[in-house]
Symmetry: C2
Subunit: 202 residues, 2 copies
DNA sequence: TTACTCATGTAAGTAGTTACATGATTCC
DNA sequence: GGAATCATGTAACTACTTACATGAGTAA
């Protein structure tokens, strides 16, 4: 139940609508978690039913309304309870690694394309993370400013430091993925060259 | 639909029962993919219905039977089709990173325990992968021996090399996780020391 | 008036989990 | 005879995805 706690952690900085939350997922927290609005809206309803958050119906314009959710005391307790829970290592199950494991069924060109795309994907992600971690370090994101304003000053360093540490971890992970893909490209070239030599020998 | 292709790739080395396949998932391929028997048995039935594999009812003992599945021509084509498909980058969604991001809600002791367990988890996994990659390099696993025997010799290098490359990637990934956890431990200690100093100053 | 953003949902389907359930075989 | 292993399933549930659906507000 990570979505629930991601939402609680966001609502702990201040009240938001489902729409706001969905946007945060694709803006800043995008990099560490993602969820679609079709998952968020129902989850907010059950969280409300569970007493973790409370909704206020607010008007927007003349005819329309929106529901703004605020974290409750029970929600805050739940956030602490969750934080104290042990990390749960996800079951090792990587589509990319499974796919790469059986590249002998593909052509060398395909194999190269796979590794190139993998490299490019992580290079792009890395860029986003680097920018984000820089902004976090400067305490210069919308969310972080509001979050710090809502928490006692002696906690500020920890609040920032843990988030920075997470993004540094993601960057380091991107680095190994990029390196792995580069080595994969070299490997494919070597395999193709060896195949070529074998063909000449025959 | 990765399970389906993992099963096809395994059945391409020779016929197996659902039970055999489930065991392989917890033995050698465990490290790259996992699936429970309750997922495997129904999937085999639908793969059979789709004509990717064919079952032979075999007796075991006197009263019991078992279903042994063999890959069909259509199954082999599907395996190639899948290998030619682009890698699909999974949506960035890591429970551990989300959890670590909000460690300010936990105590320093908890935070340290989290990072220690994370480090230990990957240290253990790493050990398994190192052993496995060594065995693969020596072409010395049950599955690899049979696989190579069933494939033309000019493919052997590629078959081994791609798998070795995947496990090397997993090892590199374990290394960054371990390093990240170590740095996390240092960070928690620093944060705690700073908190202590602040308390003395006050 | 048109396009974009704000805002909130439902429905059907996929993938995977844990628990429940059963029974034969084989080895000691 | 009992325990471990071989062998195969079902059921209920959780998390998530894609597609469908609607409509108000706002700025050009």
């Amino acid at each position: 139940m990570s979505l629930r706690h991601a939402l609680l952690a966001l609502l702990d900085v201040g009240p938001m609508t489902g729409y706001d939350l969905a946007r945060v997922f694709t803006d800043s927290v995008r990099f560490a978690w993602r969820a679609s609005h079709s998952q968020i809206y129902p989850e907010l309803r059950t969280m409300e039913a569970d007493g973790l958050i409370a909704a206020t119906e607010m008007e927007r314009g003349t005819r329309a309304t929106k529901r703004q959710y605020a974290i409750t005391d029970r929600g805050q307790e739940e956030l602490v309870r969750w934080a104290e829970e042990p990390f749960e290592a996800p079951p090792e199950r990587s589509v990319v690694h499974l796919h790469a494991m059986y590249l002998e069924y593909a052509s060398f060109d395909t194999a190269r394309r796979q590794f190139r795309e993998h490299r490019d994907h992580y290079a792009t992600a890395r860029l986003g993370w680097v920018q984000h971690v820089e902004a976090l370090r400067n305490r210069d994101t919308n969310l972080m400013r509001v979050r710090l304003a809502s928490k006692p000053e002696e906690m500020h360093d920890a609040i920032v430091a843990y988030k920075v540490h997470v993004y540094e971890g993601l960057i380091a992970r991107a680095d190994v993925e990029i390196d792995w893909a580069e080595k994969g490209l070299t490997l494919v070239n070597e395999l193709e060259a060896a195949r070529g030599r074998a063909a000449v020998d025959a």
